[in-house]
Amino acid sequence: MGLMAAQKPLELILARNLLTSISTPALLLDHHGGMVFYNEAAGALLGRPFEDAGRMSPEDWISTHGPFGDDGKPIPLDDIPATQAVRKGRPAHGVSRIRSAGGAEHEVESSTFPIVASEEGSSGAMVLFWPLGANGGEEAQG
C-alpha cells in the first residue's frame, strides 16, 4: 500500500470539509490529539497556512502555538482542555493565549467538540477559536 498515511475515518473527513467551509478559525485533532488540519481563518490567526505548517504532534503544537499560561509558559499537554476533550470525549470551553508563527500573541476563546462515532471512543476533536481584544486576528488583515 506504499508509504501513505492511513485513511481518516469518515467523521473526520466530514469535519474537515465543514471547517474548510467556515470563516471561524478552527482546527482538527486526531484521536492522538495531533493537529491534522486547520482552516484558512486559523491560518490567518496563526500566521501561516496549513499547507505550509503541515500536521503537528501535540508536543510540536504546544511548543509553537501554545496555549500559554499567564507566566508565558506552555500549558502542560495533560492540562489542556482540548486534550481532555479527545481523551474523555467531553466538550471543553475556555480562554487562553496562543502564539502565531510570527510571534504575535492572541487571547482567544475556544470551544472543543469531541468527535465520537462509535463505542470505541473519540476519533478526534474540532477546536474553534474566537479571538478576543484588539490584537485578535491582526495577521488575518494583512
Partner: protein, 292 residues
Amino acid sequence: MRVKVWGARGSVPSPGPMMNRYGGNTSCVQVTLGSGEDLILDAGTGIRTLGLGLATAPKVNILLTHLHLDHIQGLMFFPPCFRPDVEITIWGPASPEASLEDRVARYISAPLSPVEVRELPCSVSFRDTPPSEWQIGSATIHAEAVNHRGPTLGFRIVDGDTALCYIPDHEPALGASLADLEPEWVSGYDLARDADLLIHDCQYTDEEYPAHIGWGHSRIDDALTFANRVGARRLLLFHHDPLHSDDFLDDLHATARRRWAELGADPTLLEMGMEGGQLEVTPAPASAGVTA
C-alpha cells in the same frame, strides 16, 4: 469472481418502455465467488428476480450498504425469505439509534408490510458489519463508512487476487475538491484503491448536480475523478437517476467514456450498470470482459 446486476436504478423503481434496456429495478448486485458462494449486495427491488433463481441455496448472505428504501425494498419479496430451509444473514451498518433488525423491521412490519420479520419462514439473522475484515466463503470483506446521508457503507470484497469495490451511494466531493485532496482525506479511498472493478454512484450529470448538492450522490465528473484517483482498473457506473431514460443513459455513457479516456484510462473499461449485465472480474485488466 462473477458479477451480475439485478437492479442498477437509484431512488425509486422506474419501470417503463423508456427504461427497458438499463432496467427500472433498484440496487441489487449478485457476486459469485471463486468458492461458489453468492454474496448479494443490497436488496433493492432487483433482489426479487434474483431470488427466483436461488432455488437450492441453503445459505444466503445479503450485504446492505444502508437502509434507504431503494436498497431494502425487495427484501419482503425475496423468495428465499419464505422457505424454512434457508438461512439468511443480513449484514448492514450499525447505528446508535437501534439494532439493524429493528431498523429493517420498520419496513417489514404493519402497516407497510403484511408480514413481520419474526413471521418469515426462513431463519434470518442480522449482523452489524464488524470494524475489521471478515470472511464469507473465499472472500475477505471490508466495510467502511462513506459519505452519504445517514449511516452508509461501501464494501471491498477480495477473492483471491481480485478486488471488487461497491459504493452505490456516495458523494465524496461534498465540501471538498476531489482532485486536490490527499488520499487519506478522500471518503472511500482505501475501499476502492486499485480495485479490479469499482461499482460506483453516478446518479447525476454535471449539469444536474448543482441542484442536488448534499443529496448524497455523485455527478459524472466526481465519479470519474474518484475512480481515477483510486486507480480503479475498471468502472461500472451505477445508481441511475429514475428520470434517466435508456437514450439519456446512452449519452451519459458516451460522455463518461470520452472523459475517462481524457484521464488516461481505457474507455472500454468503463461500463454502465445495466439490469441483467454480467461481468467476469479478474485481476488482469485485459482479460476482464462483459459477457452480456
